[in-house]
Symmetry: C2
Subunit: 161 residues, 2 copies
DNA sequence: GAAGATTGAGACCTCAATCTTT
DNA sequence: AAAGATTGAGGTCTCAATCTTC
């Protein structure tokens, strides 16, 4: 049974499978690269970036979750693993006893600073060195449009409850 | 510490974070949608598509892995779960005793045929209804270029061993 | 009750090791 | 030895339930 071509044009179908394939392979490649060269998983790296960009290397859990667009539960599990390996440390929050600060350890800072240049270089080499400014602009615009549709869709789903 | 803007232009960085965010949220949204409406995970759906497109609803394990670009191990674990739920069945191969056929069950076919129209409609609504033919063409071309670079990169890594 | 956060169960993925057949 | 495929261990993600504090 042909399940897809009835609903998407050939060009759309090619673009869709291409996009999904590209991001899947890109994620896999970058993740392996990171792991081999620094011992960090892609998830570790994602969490370390906002922490290292924060002035004092500390953020509330919900701030990290917000910047990454992660669910709290996912982040909490990830932080448990990272704490176990000494990349971050949990600290209570004085002004709001419910909350917790996540603090980048010295070891964590050392690892991310060592890993970042190579990672960004890989992204540049694999993606952006081959693209024209027009293509970069097109990508940015497409991403914004699709994200806006997702916002709409999820807002109207929330209403329905 | 600013880890990214030293190596990517602002436009590139926006496009990169936009693309990654878009695919992450799109995957999450489509996965939840599929799960709610049909009980299938995204991984289940991915496996069922090539099987349902095959003339007799049966493919060798390595054929499925090839079409999806999955590692054999990943697929094998997935097939174990799908077999347990009765979506597919394993059958030995006469002509090559090492191999195995994966056969779509009646239940599996019923589920995928029920799930596919809604899934494709969601993709159309969230992505393609908002894009011009030019944007679709741009996306396709970018995907091809990046995939080609990944092929190069992985080929030269393989040489180095 | 809602917000901030954690936990446990179960599904999923990767890596390395294994087994069988070619 | 290489190809087809499976297995086990350990990391990761989601969902629902929970706990505490606001």
């Amino acid at each position: 049974v042909n399940l897809v071509t009835e609903w998407l044009t050939d060009a759309e179908q090619r673009a869709w499978r291409g996009l999904m394939g590209m991001t899947a392979r890109l994620d896999a490649h970058l993740g392996r690269d990171l792991q081999e060269r620094s011992g960090l998983s892609a998830a570790d790296y994602a969490v370390l970036v906002p922490l290292s960009e924060s002035p004092d290397g500390r953020l509330r859990v919900f701030e990290i979750a917000g910047r990454l667009g992660w669910e709290q539960s996912r982040l909490s599990h990830q932080l448990t693993r990272m704490t176990r390996r000494g990349l971050v440390r949990r600290e209570g929050c004085e002004s709001d006893r419910r909350g917790a600060f996540i603090v980048l350890t010295e070891a964590g800072r050392a690892v991310i600073e060592e890993a970042a240049p190579g990672h960004v270089a890989a992204v540049r080499r694999l993606v952006f060195d081959g693209l024209t400014p027009d293509q970069v602009a097109a990508l940015d615009q497409i991403a914004r449009q699709v994200l806006a549709r997702l916002d709409e869709a999820e807002a109207s789903q929330a209403d329905r409850r």
